[in-house]
Amino acid sequence: MGKRSIIPYGPQHPVLPEPIHIDLVIEDERIIEAIPSVGFIHRGLESLVDKRDFNQLVYVVERTCGICSFQHGMGYCEAVESVFGVEIPDRAKFLRTIWSEMSRIHSHLLWLGLLADGFGYENLFYQCWRIRERVLDLIELTTGGRVIFSVNKIGGVLKDIPEDQLRHILSELDAIEADLNVIKKTFIEDYTVQSRLRGIGILTREQAHDLGCAGPVARASGIKADMRKRGYDAYPHLDFEPIVSNAGDSYARCYCRLMEVFQSIDLIRQAIGKIPGESDLSVAIKGNPDGEAFFRCEQPRGEAVYYVKGSGKTFLDRFRVRTPTFANLPGLCEMLAGAELSDVGLLVITIDPCISCTER
């Protein structure tokens, strides 16, 4: 039995993109327990319901996160739409799906880059981000913003993607896929990646289920749960299967996210093939929300839950968003217990932490 000591890890650490503090109880080089603490960047976005009306809140909510901003805005809009009981036009549904998948591609590529940077593969890092830049260009072309889309409104979307832009997206996707295949070869076959990721931070299926993990973290542990299968937006019209791996280690989480990029490309192609002709992009909303609704959507990082409660006023009574990282934090603590000290940075990255989202 070695000597026990506590190492404070973060919030300032070269490997961490965002501030999270973890107290690591270690014995020699092995971690016994990890106690996370967040709260360095709590912004109180949820309390803004008292000051901003439910229409303005769309723009507040999508600033919850800088990476999955589109799906935050979309999730909030769909929750309010289900309070109103309105059905948005079909074309708007397909547009939302296309934008969701684009933001998934750029988020996953960002994460793959950060992961490569985390285990010291700088070259792979900038290859990933170079591809991501092309997706960002597509996003800016269609919405007008590189990360903050601002195309959602309650009842539909604000902007249309015209035919020529859809064709441009398809041709860009071909180029992106060709570039991705090179990276895929590296991520799947390369010795450096394998030796650094295989068998590190194993989370079994039972642990992942008991700790309520969501998204790629759960799917890498063999839980076949993907909220897109719930059938919101245009997903019922598209053909896909959740990507699941049974290994539960860091390599599996990397594999799931990498494969989801290809899946997203495929989904965008399907959506563009099936998108209905030009029509209205939104339906009119009358009155104020009265009632409550839960809405769940699949974000790049996993399942996000939105809760909206209104009582017939322009200001909502309560708005709540449970972001995927919040659900994955207990999983992270479980992974860290028993890991080597040198793997901590890597393990924190593998859950794709988005701390600003978590604290809102």
């Binding site: 700790l211 019209h237 598209l238 839960f294 769940r296 839950v305 409660k309 309560r318 449970r322 207990p330």
Partner: protein, 126 residues
Amino acid sequence: MAEVIAPENILEEIELSDLLHVVMTKKKEGLRLSQACAAYVDGKYELSYSFADDKTYQLTTLRVVIDVDAKVPSITEIVPQAIFYENEMKELFGVNIEMIALDYNNKLYRIEEEAPFGPKKEENNG
């Protein structure tokens, strides 16, 4: 064309005294705690515990309506991951939750104001 599942969300209103029992049954049914949150409406707290079924994609929400000074038992003994949700309720709303497995003592978010989402101070005095 994929199969559409999309079942309706269920909202079950339960008494505070049944909370631990119902949470235990949900856990035994193999559901996963998807989220838990509080809301402060008309002088009462509304606590929502949402359980998700990953096979049928159904969301079951348990709703407990309690008075401001009521004491709520922690469900962390049954569902360990509820630590963060319960600490959040306690810190932001001032819900009186007892025996949380890992109690951050209102230091989860490091905010200056006490229970900013909960009852306003004037209401407490008056």
